[in-house]
């Protein structure tokens, strides 16, 4: 089908982003909106293969230490200035200071050079397997040097009216109501974008979002914007299409932090007992309404080098009881910290509590709001705590950080919060990141997965799925592994 041009789409954005300058703020909604205004050097297919965006092509040297990107010519910023390699160099310098994930991703980079206006060369200290996976717009957005260089970034007026190279230009933001972006007529991919305008509607209440969709006021409900319980009902509406695609790059995985440092949970058997005790199928079917997948281990199934060949923990309360007995657990009180992200997570917390109590554990739920919960986790002041994290396509980017002992530090809410420390795992992840070729990496990561699943440093629950609901007339919205985050570039309306 030939794409048609023209039309306006109303999408929901939840929660309202705190800002739109992707280089400065990077939470989910910011990426979702600004991913259409800014661009990265690459995008990723649903299989997480790199695709060209601002970089037309790239080459990797034999030793896997030099990456050369050829930039696309004729790309202009929304204000008409040309986009060049100088912008890339500046962006990298800026992101190193403002974008924590980018900084981590760039630690392996020795230097970045621009031999000419349209070439950028990265030289690495050592080979880094996932290197080509760090150029997506959310991870490394390109910033206009001419507007930011030499200014106070924090108060730069363009933070409020961001200027990118993307298919859409920022037009207007009525705080608390909507964000409006309009077609970039000079977009470097000829003919794109097809849409004239996109409105991002801010509707803070989930039920109200469903209604807005039902009454035709919005056309796109990106993943996670309605309650799971509502998904089946909405899917059945006329002219409604649902897809779970578009999350491959992030692959959110939910698990329970288990505080490995102290108390009964320091015992591997108790942690295993927890895995057996929890009915994860129930959680998937009832709480997540059948969406998602029971996790088998530290890697989501969409992530590179995933293996299902690991020890299994089916729901088995009897076994859990036996293990507890074996470990000498005598009903010591265990504190459970649910995630205060709304009803689904609260219900899940209650279900898990019930599961654990059923096998004879004494559970006390600690109530806090999000900020208070973060503080407790950061202070290691918990026994069991809910979380879910993105995995960013490669175990070296999103998985290892949660298990290696170098990532243990007080005051942080991710990374190795559970206090698991295993030299073997440390080594495997260190090697895996720099190993070449791919087959070698695969071998290392599979081994790591087996060890981790045996040790149960945390209790993996579900690979979450956040389906995107939209009207069927919206075509081609999700074409890449990062989904709606840069989706409107290709989307068109079948009127």
């Amino acid at each position: 089908q030939e794409p048609k041009t023209g039309g306006v789409i109303n999408a929901v954005i939840q929660p309202e982003p705190p800002g739109l300058m992707l280089a400065m703020v990077q939470n989910g909604p910011v990426q979702m909106v600004s991913g259409n205004i800014f661009e990265g050097l690459l995008r990723y297919s649903p299989k997480l293969e790199p695709l060209p965006e601002l970089a037309e092509s790239w080459t990797v040297s034999e030793d896997a230490k030099t990456y050369t990107f050829k930039l696309k010519k004729g790309v202009t910023w929304h204000d008409g200035k040309p986009f060049t390699a100088a912008d890339v160099l500046f962006s990298i310098e800026m992101l190193k200071q403002t974008h924590a994930r980018a900084r981590n991703n760039l630690v392996q980079v020795d230097k970045v050079e621009a031999p000419d206006d349209y070439t950028v060369v990265f030289t690495l200290k050592q080979p880094f397997g996932p290197f080509l996976g760090i150029f997506e717009v959310g991870s490394m957005p390109m910033v206009p040097k001419h507007l930011y260089d030499g200014t106070d970034w924090k108060t730069n007026p363009y933070n409020n009216a961001p200027v990118g190279t993307g298919p859409f230009m920022f037009k207007e933001w009525q705080k608390g109501s909507f964000i409006r972006m309009v077609k970039n007529p000079n977009y470097h991919e000829k003919g794109k974008p097809y849409l004239d305008e996109v409105y991002w509607q801010v509707i803070p209440d989930a039920a109200a979002r469903s209604v807005a969709y039902e009454t035709g006021k919005v056309d796109v409900l990106p993943g996670g914007s309605v309650e799971n319980f509502d998904v089946p009902r909405l899917s059945k509406l006329k002219d409604t299409c649902v897809t779970g695609a578009g999350w491959e790059f992030f692959s959110p995985l939910a698990w329970l932090w288990l505080n490995n440092r102290q108390g009964p949970l320091a015992d591997k058997r108790v942690r295993q007992a927890i895995m057996y005790a929890i009915d994860r199928d129930f959680a998937k079917d009832v709480i997540w309404n059948g969406l998602g997948k029971v996790a088998t281990g530290p890697s989501a199934s969409t992530i590179k080098y995933y293996t299902a060949d690991v020890p299994k923990y089916p729901y088995d309360p009897a076994k859990a009881k036996a293990l507890l007995k074996e470990a000498g657990y005598k009903g010591e009180k265990i504190r459970l910290l649910p995630l205060a992200y709304g009803e689904t997570w609260q219900r899940w917390g209650e279900a898990v509590k019930q599961n654990l109590q059923d096998v004879g554990m004494t559970i006390e739920t600690i109530a806090t709001d999000v900020a208070g919960g973060n503080q407790k986790i950061g202070d290691w002041d918990y026994d069991i705590a809910f979380t879910y994290l993105y995995q960013y396509g490669d175990p070296a980017l999103g998985v290892g950080r949660n298990y290696v002992s170098s990532a243990i530090a007080k005051g942080q809410v991710f990374n190795n919060v559970e206090g698991y420390s295993n030299p073997e795992i440390d080594k495997l992840f260190a090697d895996g990141a720099v190993a070449t070729p791919d087959s070698k990496r695969k071998e290392i990561y599979e081994k790591a997965q087996k060890i981790l699943v045996e040790d149960v440093p945390v209790a993996w629950m579900l690979e979450l799925q956040f389906p995107t609901i939209m009207r069927c007339k919206v075509k081609n919205l999700i074409t890449t592994g990062i989904g709606v985050n840069d989706g409107f570039k290709d989307a068109w309306l079948d009127k």
Binding site: R101, G176, I203, A212, Q412
Partner: protein
């Protein structure tokens, strides 16, 4: 009278400063750290990043110094910079204030008008079926959670009948001006204002009723009857006015709290008001923004308290202004 107002304003400013200081500490007593929250959202939580954030917001400075900086700002009408939204607090609040005032004042007017109306009916027909009916009716909107009433309203008027828009402040993208715009906003306003108004209505209904029954038995009502005034006029002019005092008091208290108290209504109807802003700021420990909202709310309440006291004086001439 003018000097009374002037005095109250001066006092108000002092109270406001005290409130600022106390709130400053109160907010910080709550567990949670804005830097950690933000780091969490950004999907990265290494310590360098958190430290950077803390430095950026001045959270690394000792508390008294932070307080000093903040108070100094407030005195010069600068409410600081929102950590999370990266914008001046006063700008963020001012953006939302009109919508909030529109919603709350409308709701307030609705609740007061309906409340007093129903209350006087209930009093006039005390003990009858009508009285019971009004009581139950008012209590339903009061005791039923707001979100429930709101959602039922949406389902009925937006989904089933498609009469009223279900969310927002105006039709996005319609670019209406003048009267058309006003009508559009009014359409959006009806449901949230009614929801909120019906909630507060119960208090006024009950209060008016009780108070009127009390006043009804006073001697001057007999005088009024002896004049040959009609029942309606007696109720309105003699009974109601005298019964209004506690209603005015309560209205004063509510009018202020309404500003920050409409979180749920604003949420369900996606009304871009301050309640929502405050709620988010609170959950994210966006200290400056939260404090800013508190300061604005406090100022509003103080203003409303002053107005209440002046209205009191209008309603009850026996109350003298203390000087």
């Amino acid at each position: 009278m003018l000097s009374f107002v002037a005095q109250r304003v001066v006092k108000g400013v002092i109270v406001l400063l005290a409130i600022v200081v106390l709130n400053f500490f109160l907010i910080r007593l709550a567990p949670g750290d804005p830097a950690v929250v933000m780091a969490g959202e950004a999907g990265a939580s290494d310590q360098i990043f958190v430290k950077q954030l803390r430095e950026k917001f001045g959270l690394d400075k000792p508390l008294p110094e932070q307080l000093f900086i903040y108070v100094k700002g407030v005195v010069t009408l600068d409410l600081g910079f929102s950590f999370r939204q990266q914008a001046p607090v006063s700008k963020l609040i001012l953006e939302r204030l009109p919508a909030t005032l529109l919603l709350t004042l409308t709701a307030f007017a609705i609740s007061l008008m309906l409340g007093v109306l129903f209350g006087s009916f209930a009093a006039r027909f005390a003990g009858t079926f009508l009285d019971t009916g009004i009581t139950v009716f008012a209590l339903i909107f009061y005791a039923m959670p707001i979100f429930w009433v709101a959602l039922m309203g949406i389902l009925l008027f937006s989904v089933t009948f498609d009469w009223l828009p279900s969310f927002g402040y105006e039709t996005v993208g319609a670019n209406l001006t003048g009267l058309a715009h006003a009508v559009d906003v009014a359409k959006h306003l009806i449901m949230p204002a009614m929801t909120l108004g019906l909630f507060f209505m119960a208090t006024y209904t009950r209060m008016t009723r009780a108070s009127m029954l009390e006043v009804k038995r006073l001697d001057f009502v007999k005088t009024a009857r002896a004049k040959g005034l009609s029942d309606a006029v007696i109720q309105r002019r003699h009974v109601l006015r005298n019964a209004l005092l506690p209603v005015v008091t309560l209205a004063g208290v509510h009018s202020g709290t309404l500003i920050g108290g409409a979180v749920i209504t604003e949420t369900v109807f996606a009304w871009p008001g301050i309640g929502r802003l405050m709620y988010d700021a609170l959950l994210q420990r966006d200290y400056n923004l939260l404090l800013g909202v508190f300061v604005i709310c406090s100022a509003m309440v103080l203003i409303f308290n002053l107005i209440t006291d002046l209205v009191y004086r209008l309603v009850d001439p026996r109350i003298e202004f203390a000087s």
